[in-house]
Amino acid sequence: MRFVDEFRQPELISKTAEEIRRLAGTKRHYRMMEVCGGHTHAIYRFGLKDILPENIELIHGPGCPVCVLPMGRIDDGLAIAQEPNVIFAAFGDMMRVPGTRGSPLEHKARGMDVRIVYSPSDALKLARLNPGKHVMFFAIGFETTAPSTALTMMRARAEGIRNFSVFCNHVTIIPAIRAILDSPDMRLDAFIGPGHVSTVIGCRPYEWVARNERKPIVVSGFEPLDMLQSIVMLLRQLQAGEAKVENQYKRVVPWEGNRAALQAMAEVFQLRPYFEWRGLGFISQSALRINDKYSEFDAEQRFEVPGIRVTDPKAAQCGEVLKGVLKPHQCKLFGRECTPEHPIGALMVSTEGSCAAYHSYEHRKAAMVSLSSIA
């Protein structure tokens, strides 16, 4: 409980933690998956595991877009950027992600024109500023970022910009949840639903999880109190034998989502028949491609794409960790061959990946222990 005092409303947090202990009792084990990588990061950073009773186990889900992107897609994007006069623009999170022959940053060091952008609209601005070059935006993310990519392409089309394209790797969260639930070795009791994805898609798309799979799901905010309250809401449902969708993050997430954002996505994208996820394999209708109306802005149509496939090393057990069958440290490669500095598996790639989060948390914890022994 050492972190509690730093949080806002520490008394309320202590009270909520007590309520969790009371509801959880000791007889039953609860396995809850937080779908969103932002939640995973927050859980470790805030030390929520130290606050929760032992019989509540948090399983870290697939909601880190950098982690689930197959290495072959990075290779494909970098192959396009080898063409003369192409600028490779991507979010900062992508820059250290390894491809077969190095990360975008390493390609930059070898002379490729690689730019970090905060926003797809910054990539479009680069195109305006560099009329003699072609700017390819390497788009990633769930429904949180997909509408922004879509609206940027609508703006590019309206302006008649010709030297801009998008290499689209946007994925959708619901099919990933479905894939996890369909897996035969999956054992989950409930879901902590993603916060910011839900500002776009709303809460309705989760209703099948509750209805068909009989799993409670609570859309949650990111503060410690938010997540603890969400766990209380899940425990209450589980004990009442209920399975419904609830919204703990009402102050930001409207039940119906964001209509303008959904419309922008519908204008520009269509579902791919299938897409590969690192750690989970091919999932049908789980990703977005650019539709024919916007084909002139589709890097996959404008350029030759090699279609590289890179299989993860067999020893990496990312799939089992994603489904909660294994804890990060139980993977044979964890902390040995696979570290945040030299990631081999998907989940070690980004700070929001469960292995990277676990790795830095364990290290911090070890550092604290050695500090306290000195003191």
């Binding site: 932002g38 905060y118 926003s119 910054d122 680069l126 609206l151 776009v200 303008a260 929001e352």
Partner: protein, 92 residues
């Protein structure tokens, strides 16, 4: 990329009503309001910004809380680097 950064709308462009300037702890940047068609913010309102686009209107209290969360997550520097657009989009 996944960070939601709270910003206060300080100006909406007179030529383009989808273009606004927000302020995030003293730093200003231009953002796009095109994904808030149904509930357009006005100067003084607070919004959550994802990758340069306002995604939801929030209260001032929620904005302060979100900033604190980013601080506790150790993400403030990253967020401010993003707001500055890596040198591309700072509004002077």
């Amino acid at each position: 990329m996944c960070l939601a950064i709270p910003g206060k709308i300080v100006e909406i462009s007179s030529e383009n009503c989808d273009s606004a300037v927000v302020e995030v702890i003293g730093v200003r940047r231009r953002i796009d309001l095109g994904l808030l068609q149904d509930d357009k913010p006005t100067p003084g309102d607070w919004v959550l910004v994802h990758v340069g686009f306002a995604m939801s209107k929030i209260s001032e209290q929620d904005a302060t809380d979100q900033m604190n969360t980013l601080r506790m997550l150790g993400e403030i520097d990253g967020a401010m680097q993003e707001v500055r657009g890596y040198g591309l989009d700072e509004v002077n």
